[in-house]
């Protein structure tokens, strides 16, 4: 698996498709911290949402970077399409974790906050960023070129999902009571965003509950994708 991850990282960086999502994310974070001081958890909530968007974008560009013929060759060498999918996910998890670390550490080392962050808040921020990043990746899994043929459709659907996920709390307050159950199907991005923003006043259990919710949601998306990838054809186009 290490060999596959090393190969995918090399092939992704050589493709230069990483450039746009990475640069976009870095610019957004730098702009956000361009003035100081900033409130700790409000800033972390904002950068976590930026990471969610950035990881969804990075996920899509990563999953589409390899030529379909080369994907076939890699799967044959690996002897399993599911292992290949798992390897791609682990590579994306590694990239997400790196970005998570950079985004959480940057304001600390550049002294952008109005007060010391403290261990608890840093821990919550690391977990929140990681979870929002991974749900972005999990959504991108279903929109890659081998699943959604037209890239314009994939980008459109991704943008719609991002917008709905971020605005889910507002959307559910506008929906009639009988439709509220439907909001459970939405990616639970806004509850984590709220938990991060209010981490200073919320009970630990409240924060953890929102983290468990998004973790389970992501786990279901990922597990279903790995299962389906073993049943899917790996065509040349």
């Amino acid at each position: 698996m290490m060999a596959l991850i090393a190969y995918l990282l090399r092939s992704y960086t050589r493709s230069q498709r990483y450039f746009a999502p990475f640069t976009g994310l870095v610019i957004a974070v730098l702009v956000l911290y361009s003035y100081k001081p900033n409130p700790v958890m409000n800033s972390y909530a904002a950068t976590a949402v930026l990471l969610f968007i950035g990881c969804a974008w990075m996920g899509l560009s990563f999953l589409n970077h390899e030529h379909s013929v080369q994907t076939q060759i890699t799967i044959v060498h690996l002897r399993s399409a599911r292992k290949y999918t798992a390897g791609r996910l682990l590579t994306l998890a590694l990239l997400t974790w790196l970005l998570d670390l950079l985004i959480v550490v940057y304001p600390l080392v550049s002294d952008r906050f109005d007060e010391p962050a403290g261990g608890y808040r840093i821990l919550i921020a690391l977990a929140g960023h990681g979870l929002l990043g991974m749900i972005g990746v999990a959504i991108a899994l279903y929109l890659q070129a081998s699943w959604v043929k037209k890239s314009s459709h994939a980008v459109g659907i991704l943008l719609a999902i991002i917008a709905i996920s971020i605005g889910a709390t507002k959307i559910s307050s506008l929906l009639p009571a009988q439709w509220l159950m439907l909001t459970l199907l939405l990616p639970p991005v806004s509850p984590v965003m709220d938990a991060l923003m209010n981490a200073d006043t919320l009970l630990v259990s409240g924060v953890l509950l929102s983290f468990i919710h998004i973790f389970l949601y992501t786990a279901v998306l990922v597990a279903l994708h790995i299962y389906l990838s073993g049943r899917k054809d790996n065509n040349k186009n």
Binding site: A3, R10, R14, I73, V76, R79, N235
Partner: protein, 291 residues
């Protein structure tokens, strides 16, 4: 008596894309150390068949039976120009396959030299010619000595010395027990390697020719019969004296089978067809056989 277990077997495999049948009830059995040529026009289903055998595409119906842990080498058509050097690429593929470092370096060295690519090992592949890319494609398929080698149009873009080199290498592998299945338009490779030729037309396997000697001009007998099931037709292809089989669609009689057999085996085939409940429509001596 020892029973030879096929390395890989397809039983009445069909593949549909959006309701369109691109492979239609194809059956085949591949044993160790054999070379099978798939021939047919563009769109006849050769690449789909190879992808199914590689485990990349699932059949819509029918079965694929593969011996456990069969190591497959696969060289698809249209290998892309990548932004890495041959050495980096082959090292990655070898590691993914699980080859030990020392063995991998030796194989890369040996194969790059064998395909005259030694001097390009540190150059980015993006600007390689079609032939050079095809060589890299073949090398990656040969990195881990495969038990089953699947090659889709392997001669595409290759120069003459490389063709000779490839054929010699494949013969060597075949002797060592590797089963080779390749699609080709060039008779040169079919004649040099194949001991079985499967002819595909619009997704159907219309002929199954066994033995290279049967590709040449010789007297044969052509038997036209009807009323045989697919499995009974398959049984005929394993009998001594069998040369080729093609499916014939007749508006009056329905699906029929055209069998080309060696003259001395004619009686045996007639008995077999009648014994299986089939009906003989015609028997004709012929002056030649071939693809």
């Amino acid at each position: 008596m020892s029973v030879r277990v096929p390395l890989i077997e397809l039983k009445q495999a069909s593949k549909l894309y959006g309701g369109q049948r691109v492979l239609d009830e194809v059956s085949m059995s591949i044993e160790q150390g054999t070379a099978t040529a798939l021939i047919g026009r563009n769109g006849s289903g050769k690449s789909t068949l190879l992808s199914i055998l590689a485990g990349l595409i699932h059949t819509s119906s029918g079965r694929l039976i593969r011996q456990p842990n069969v190591i497959i080498g696969y060289a698809p058509e249209m290998f892309p120009g990548l932004k890495v050097t041959p050495e980096q690429y082959l090292r990655s593929m070898g590691r993914i396959s699980g080859l030990a470092a020392g063995e991998l370096e030796h194989r890369i060295q040996e194969l790059l030299a064998g395909f005259y690519l030694e001097q390009f090992r540190h150059e980015i592949m993006m600007n390689f010619s079609k032939g050079m890319l095809q060589k890299i494609n073949l090398i990656q398929a040969l990195l881990v000595s495969p038990a089953l080698l699947l090659l889709d149009e392997p001669l595409s873009g290759l120069d003459l010395p490389a063709i000779d080199q490839l054929i010699a290498l494949l013969r060597e592998l075949q002797k060592e027990g590797t089963a080779i299945i390749f699609s080709a338009h060039e008779p040169q490779m079919v004649e040099a390697l194949a001991d079985q030729v499967l002819v595909l037309q619009a997704g159907k396997m219309i002929r199954n020719i066994k033995g290279t000697e049967n590709l040449w001009v010789k007297p044969t007998t052509y038997i036209y019969c009807t009323g045989l099931s697919s499995s009974e037709q398959m049984e005929l292809t394993d009998r001594p004296g069998f040369i080729s089989l093609n499916i014939i669609m007749d508006a009056d009689r329905g699906e029929g089978v055209g069998l080309t057999v060696q003259p001395e085996a004619t009686d045996d085939f007639l008995r077999q067809v009648l014994g299986a409940g089939g009906s003989i429509v015609s028997v004709e001596p012929q002056g030649e056989s071939g693809i």
